[in-house]
C-alpha cells in the first residue's frame, strides 16, 4: 500500500471543520469515490473533526490518499485531550458526554470501511478511518 498524497489540516477552531469537509471532498473526488461514498466519508470526517475540537480540545487531521491494492482515502484525527476511558461505551449509539445526540463515534463507524480508535486517558485520542474505492 502506497501513500500517494498526505497533508495535515489543523483543527483549532470551528471553521476548520468546514475546511476538513472541503479537503476530504476534493481528495475523495480525485480518487473517484461514488457520490454516496464521498458523502459518507465527508460526513464521517465532519463528525470526527467536531469531536476532536469539542472533546479533544483541538488537534489535527491527517488526510492521505492511498493506492494499492485499491484506491482509498485515510483520515487520522489526533488530539491531546482528556482521552476516552471506556471506548466500547463511547462507540455505542446514544452515548454522549457532551450536548450531542451521541451518534458521533458509533454512527461514524458505519460510514466507513475501516475504523480504528486509540485513546489514553490524560494523553489524547487518535481515530483513523479509511474508505476504499
Amino acid at each position: 500500500m502506497a501513500v500517494v498524497f498526505s497533508e495535515t489540516v489543523p483543527l483549532v477552531s470551528e471553521p476548520d471543520i468546514v475546511v476538513v469537509r472541503r479537503r476530504v471532498r476534493e481528495v475523495a473526488g480525485q480518487i473517484g469515490l461514488s457520490l454516496v461514498d464521498q458523502t459518507k466519508v465527508i460526513t464521517a470526517a465532519s463528525e470526527l473533526a467536531r469531536n476532536t475540537l469539542i472533546y479533544g480540545g483541538g488537534g489535527s487531521m491527517q488526510l492521505e490518499s492511498l493506492n494499492g491494492p485499491r484506491l482509498g482515502v485515510r483520515l487520522t484525527f489526533k488530539d491531546n485531550g482528556p482521552g476516552i476511558p471506556d471506548i466500547e461505551l463511547a462507540l455505542r449509539d446514544g452515548f454522549t458526554t457532551g450536548s450531542g445526540l451521541g451518534l458521533g463515534l458509533g454512527g461514524t463507524k458505519r460510514l466507513v470501511n475501516e475504523f480504528d480508535i486509540e485513546s489514553k486517558v490524560g494523553q489524547g485520542t487518535r481515530v483513523t478511518i479509511t474508505r476504499w474505492k
Binding site: V18, R21, R22, V36, Q38, T39, K40, T43, G107
Partner: protein, 133 residues
Amino acid sequence: MEKIPILRMGEFLLVTIQVDMHDRLAMTLQDDLTKRISETNAHGVLIDISTLEIVDSFIGRMLGNIAAMSRVLDARTVVVGMQPAVAITLVELGMSLPGVRTALNVDAGMKLLRESLNGHGENGQGQSDGRRL
C-alpha cells in the same frame, strides 16, 4: 456577520441554504428563524437543502430543533430537496430526522404547507407527495 437570508412569502418563510454551514452559522439560522416566525406570524417554514452536499449530526439536529421550535410557535416546517446520497448517509449515521417533515422539491413542500394551513393533513397524515424519512 455572515447570515443565511430568510425570505417572507405571504404566510410562509423561505430559507435556501446555499453554503457549507459552519456550526455557528447553523445556530444563528435557528435563532433568526424563530425570531422571524414570531415577528411575522408566519405559519409555515420551508427550508431548501438541495445544494447541501452533506448533513451531519449537527445540521440534522438543527433541522430537528427548527421543526420543534416552529411547531411550538404554531408554524409548520418542511425540509425540501435532500439529495439521495445525503439521505442514505443520514440514516446510516443513525439519524432519521424524527419530527421533520420532508418533501422532494419546493413545489411539493409549498403544497404541504398550504394544505396544513387549510387544516387538511394535520401532522402530515394522509399526504400524497409529502414524505418522512
